[in-house]
Amino acid sequence: MKRRGYDGVAVCAPISVPYRRYSVDSAHWWVGRALYAMTQRTGLKPTDLDGLSVSSFTLAPDTAVGLTQHLGLSPRWLDHVPMGGASGGIALRRAARAVQCGDADFVACVAADTNHVDSFRKTLSSFSRFAQDAVYPYGSGGPNASFALITRHYMNRTGATREDFGRICVAQRANAQRYDGALMQKPLTLDDYMCARAISDPIHLFDCVMPCAGAEAFLVCREDDARSLGLPFARVLSTIERHNAYQDDPIQFRGGWAVDRDDLWSVAGIGPDAVDFLQTYDDYPVIVMMQIEDLGFCAKGEAPAFVRAHTLTTDGDFPHNTSGGQLSAGQAGAGGGYLGMVEAVRQLTDQAGDTTVPDARIGLVSGFGMINYDRGLASSAVLLARA
């Protein structure tokens, strides 16, 4: 069956609650701050938000349902998207269908996590059943170790070098210096990158994100409602999602984007060369390279050459992770899966300030999440356009 487009759907009100390295507050507090900012921005009352989509790792023992009572909301459409770095795109595509079909009018999509001094370790040790049984007992290196293995294998297969990964990290730090919300603004040179201490070879310090507390949110509604509220909005051209792709690959070398990318481009009716900026999920630079390849910007295994041939800063020929990505902004738990989406909406609605990519009309936001055992399982991608 031919897929329907997303005509009439608006994505607006990009909200980023400033991150903090550690927070004594709860995830509930961070969700509350994001939704408060959304009501302030949009003029909607909390009870006007008749749809809610929540992504968080640290809400336990609550789920999205408990959160409605906690925050005094009464939505008629409720979603909980526990998909880590793929949450932003997946929340959006579900919310888009809800408003398109009239099941809800205003869906607040929010991702928030707190970061207590000990919460990272606790999240890792019980992240998934496979992590508990088959990952954490093996050195407890967390995602650093899992991605070290994936990175090492990718380097062996493609000839990628640490310098290639470093180019991505250095460019993102340059972008972060234009973004007030980034936790890491100190200039980073390729030398700094290369000389950083090893964390889990070949992963070194600047390949790793810094876990932090924070919240990101956006509003999905119909275009006419956005207009009547006076909210600038972006349109949705196409979306994809996939889970547990290529399960027979002995180690992760590609992600679900490669399965669905033809679908992504054909629904949008454009190709990769129409894209003005790319927001990838960058928990480690190797995954950025896989996204560049698997989304079709270059052939498989050629991302190292691609990043050498392009400039990835906001003023470069391939603007990428324009707010610094998680590598420089910080990883606010599930908020990391929203970072690129919220930044993309800012870019396409002239709210990006110093990170603005000149004349950007089309942006691609890609997500990746959930290292259940040895690889990330969830992938998503969304093509957004200026209205």
Partner: protein
């Protein structure tokens, strides 16, 4: 090439004894299938009964055909290391003080990919033999071993966390008077133990083999009567802080069932020597061993019990003896739980009738004390928890698996 271990120097009494920490020991119920295999030194994964797919990590349905019939079976252990990493930063306190720590992704010949500990002599791209071992938390982990053994491979630091190798450890053999005890002293001394304490009740009483025993290098005779609480307490007070492995070789097999004996004298002796003896050793040596589970190269490692395999199913010809052994087995399960917080393992060596005077009338096959001693050293080197030594023990283990009721009837026939 593995750096051979260096014999630890005498401990500085002013230094803090490092507290034992454990890697995370939480597992799903299904994952205990790996622990069961590791406890016996086998490499087993789930195999789908319907489509034959081999599964890892442990799961509750086949990930190829969704069948729910996914029992653990022994599978080929060969594989290739696809990628390796050296973890230098860990969020876990146990690993934090043991970094750098190497792990790797191993593509198993039989199908799944396995993220495993890497032996120091294993490099990326190498062929390996996967081995399931019990870590300090008592749960199964896999370590990728060199395909062909390398020199001093048993001394690898990551491997030694998973084993109870007697090399450079100080071992107490509780009774040197019987043949089993003497064979054990020889085997343990040969395996590189730095001291072998040999317990003797009334050491002034001569016994066969005494002269040869005392000549074995490293042997230190201690006075120990495990039927006497004061004797056990006194000896523990002197040496418990230096006992890294305890092997209870005190035995008391006596023929006779339940009805045929007159009175309880023999049964009481059996319980006093075997069951209460075990309790006395546990009470006086256990706490010190548990506190020394991470005390360097010669950290406390294992409490070894030699049990009759008839602890698992009564053998009416030796009916009261079997019952006393069953009591011991039950106690060792409690002891295992109690010592786990120190990372100290409880090894149970299940044996059939030994080739000694107390099984004189029993037809072969019978197990020689030397074979039991060799198997004990092997179990310590592998860190396995339950060993079935010899033909009779393995036969009973297998029959228990198939049909315990048949075994009960057949042993009583």
């Amino acid at each position: 090439m593995t750096e051979p271990l260096i014999r630890p120097r005498r401990k500085d009494p002013l230094r803090k004894t490092r507290e034992p920490l454990l890697p995370q020991g939480i597992r799903s119920r299904t994952a205990f299938g790996l622990t069961a295999a590791a406890a016996e030194g086998r490499f087993a994964l789930q195999v789908c009964t319907d489509c034959g797919c081999i599964l890892y990590p442990p799961r509750d349905a086949c990930s190829r055909c969704l069948s729910g019939r996914v029992p653990f079976r022994d599978v080929p252990s060969g594989g290739v290391v696809l990628a390796e990493t050296t973890i230098r930063t860990s969020t876990d306190v146990y690993f934090r003080e043991r970094t750098p720590w190497r792990i790797g992704t191993v593509a198993l010949d039989c199908g799944p990919s396995f993220v495993a500990h890497l032996h120091g002599d294993v490099a990326e791209g190498a062929r390996v033999r996967m081995t399931l071992r019990l870590d300090k938390s008592g749960n199964a982990v896999a370590i990728a071993m060199p395909d062909t053994p390398t020199e001093h491979q048993e001394d690898d630091v990551q491997l030694r966390e998973l084993t109870c190798d007697p090399k450079f450890r100080r071992v107490l053999i509780t009774d040197g008077r019987n043949a089993t005890g003497q064979a054990m002293v020889r085997a343990i001394a040969t395996a590189g133990a730095s001291i072998v304490f040999v317990g003797l009740a009334d050491p002034w009483k001569p016994f066969p083999g005494e002269a040869a025993l005392r000549e074995i290098p490293g042997v230190e005779v201690v006075s120990l009567d495990i039927t006497d609480s004061q004797s056990v307490a006194d000896t523990a007070g002197e040496i418990a802080h230096r006992v890294d492995i305890l092997v209870n070789t005190t035995e008391h097999p006596r023929i006779g069932g339940i009805m045929g004996r007159h009175g309880l004298t023999v049964a009481r002796e059996e319980m006093d020597i075997r069951y209460f003896g075990l309790l006395r050793l546990a009470q006086h040596f256990g706490p010190t061993m548990r506190a020394r589970g991470a005390d360097g190269v010669n950290a406390a490692a294992a409490f070894v019990n030699l049990l009759s395999v008839h602890a698992l199913m009564n053998w009416p010809l030796y009916g009261a003896f079997s019952a006393a052994e069953a009591a011991c087995l039950s106690a060792t399960q409690a002891l295992r739980a109690e010592l786990r917080s120190g990372g100290v393992k409880v090894l149970n060596m299940f044996a059939g009738p030994l080739d000694t005077e107390w099984f004189q009338s029993v037809p072969p096959p019978k197990l020689s004390p030397a074979a039991l001693a060799t198997a004990t050293v092997d179990a310590l080197r592998k860190g396995i928890e339950d060993a079935y030594v010899g033909d009779v023990a393995q036969d009973i283990r297998a029959r228990l698996d198939v049909q315990p009721k048949a075994l009960e009837r057949e042993l009583g026939a």
